[in-house]
Symmetry: C2
Subunit: 338 residues, 2 copies
Amino acid sequence: MARGSTRPTSRDVAQAAGVSQAAVSLVLGDKWRGRVSETTAERVREAARELGYRPNLAARNLRLGRTRTVLLVVPALTTEFFAGVYTGAARVAAEHGFGVVLYPSPEGVGPARDPFASAQAALDGVIASSMAADALSAIRGDQLPLVMLDSDPSGSLGVATVNLDITDGVRQVAEHLLGLGHRRFLHLAADVPSWTFEVRARELAVRVGEVPGTSLRTAHAPISIEGALAAAEAALAAPGPGPTALVCDDDKLAAGAYKALRRLGLRVPDDVSVTGLDDLALATAIDPELTTVRLDAELFGERGMQALLAVLEGRTPEAGDIPVELIVRGSTGPPRAS
Amino acid sequence: MARGSTRPTSRDVAQAAGVSQAAVSLVLGDKWRGRVSETTAERVREAARELGYRPNLAARNLRLGRTRTVLLVVPALTTEFFAGVYTGAARVAAEHGFGVVLYPSPEGVGPARDPFASAQAALDGVIASSMAADALSAIRGDQLPLVMLDSDPSGSLGVATVNLDITDGVRQVAEHLLGLGHRRFLHLAADVPSWTFEVRARELAVRVGEVPGTSLRTAHAPISIEGALAAAEAALAAPGPGPTALVCDDDKLAAGAYKALRRLGLRVPDDVSVTGLDDLALATAIDPELTTVRLDAELFGERGMQALLAVLEGRTPEAGDIPVELIVRGSTGPPRAS
DNA sequence: CACTTGAAGTGTTACGTATAACGCCCTCCG
DNA sequence: CGGAGGGCGTTATACGTAACACTTCAAGTG
């Protein structure tokens, strides 16, 4: 009540409790093991509660030289997947008293060229998806602790990296489809530079190539339903025997492929089997439900945040890729006997 | 090069340029109209560039007593809609040199009860969706400038509110379906407290009630495909003549309704017409494509941020609800002649 | 009794920035 | 020739916190 309308400071609390400001800082910071008596400590806490005291974070950050805030750089957030990554990262961050601020790449957020300008907070570290490559150069400038998501682990030496076990995901898909008897494949690939998609293309070629008498073609499409529809329709119209299995780099691509197949009068899975990647809500909305590789986006974010916390504390981040799981639903079956 | 590894401060720049720290602050802050010569200013800018100087945001925030950072409180972010709201808000914020930090409600982010603990940044204001009601009490405590999204405008007096024109959306849907000849309606309502859904239920009853010989039943479901499937199946199994039109509070509900109808052997739109709300990617992925009311989530976020900026500057926020638009696709048609 | 030890605090400083208040020099005008 | 004023900067200070170094006092120790 003393000062009027400005927020109370630790000095106000000190005055109210009849102690020095330093004592308030010690008590509220839980650093008073043997330095302040229990009764005094309680008096301080009481005064703080009374005044509704909240520490001024800007002042604390300045004093400590760190902010307990990290930046998460992702492509446009309007994808379920990256929303999940954020959620996981934010959960782990909150458990450790950290905050997460987002930098969705420029297309989503407008003219800001500088990631740090849009994040008004001072930062302790950065987690960046390789899909937001356009922002990376600016980030490299400052030598903040950095964790990369979805990036060539041998590429950026010395930078901690967290990846999904894409190789294993491809293995599961390939074994599933080859086991059903499929031999002619079309890979509907995402038209986006990304380590995940690179690995997928390479591994898929390897796995399919291991079996004699197989063929693999590739079509590229932007990650959207309409884009996939157009690309799939064009690819399926090519001369020669059509594919019996369509391997898509994203559930949205699979949804577009469904529409292309329907237009061409082909049925899923009777005429063509389809697989996706991600396991979005979409996957169970479409008919038949989509066989897809589930990526645990939240776990991805959690692991990314844990890795960054490790780096910040000077520890070595946990190694090992994040497991993925093939979810078999109704969009895959044995190929037509032909 | 002088100090080693710590980041350069404005004093370092000053020394390099041979001026005082104050001059650096003036030049880099564009406050030097007639106070510093052009040549000196250029020398300062050059030195800053040379040293890779970046102002310490924590220090600036402390000095100025504001942070140019606002908090956006939303329900779990893993919905396309709120991701869009964030994107729009962040875009407008960036244009005005502001940052946005998120507080997805606790279920998404874990044990943190205090929204301000998870947002380590000091805040200038808050934008809150009424759907994240659990966090609101904590927010009211601090009297930060507040803008509510999707809230009863007459309820929280004195608090700026931004809403979608839900009333008009219902009008468009009702006119469309009534015009096609539908008379028996089932409202598949979202099982979430929200101003939007309240208004929808009320307005739908009014619109349908205006026409003689109509009936309207209501079923509630959580916003998920499986939840909607179960609720719709139960509601459709009720005795008596079934509805010819299903009005859903969310595209996901509509997707679940599709599945329920398919199980019951009913076809869309031949047997039953279906409408949604949101126009998510989902809407064009399912077959037939969904007739739905498009909500411009990004515009919603933009308007929210603009309103908050207005409040922060002491202006009156722009009034008027955000227009919504009925997108007619293949899921609605005339009812069966019966 | 002289000395150490530990508890319980306090005084002071620094973090890096923005800005109000103040100087100095030169020119111009009465 | 004196003083007013503009151009060009500088000095000093405050923002709120955390932490180090220091003081005081009572109890323990040989």
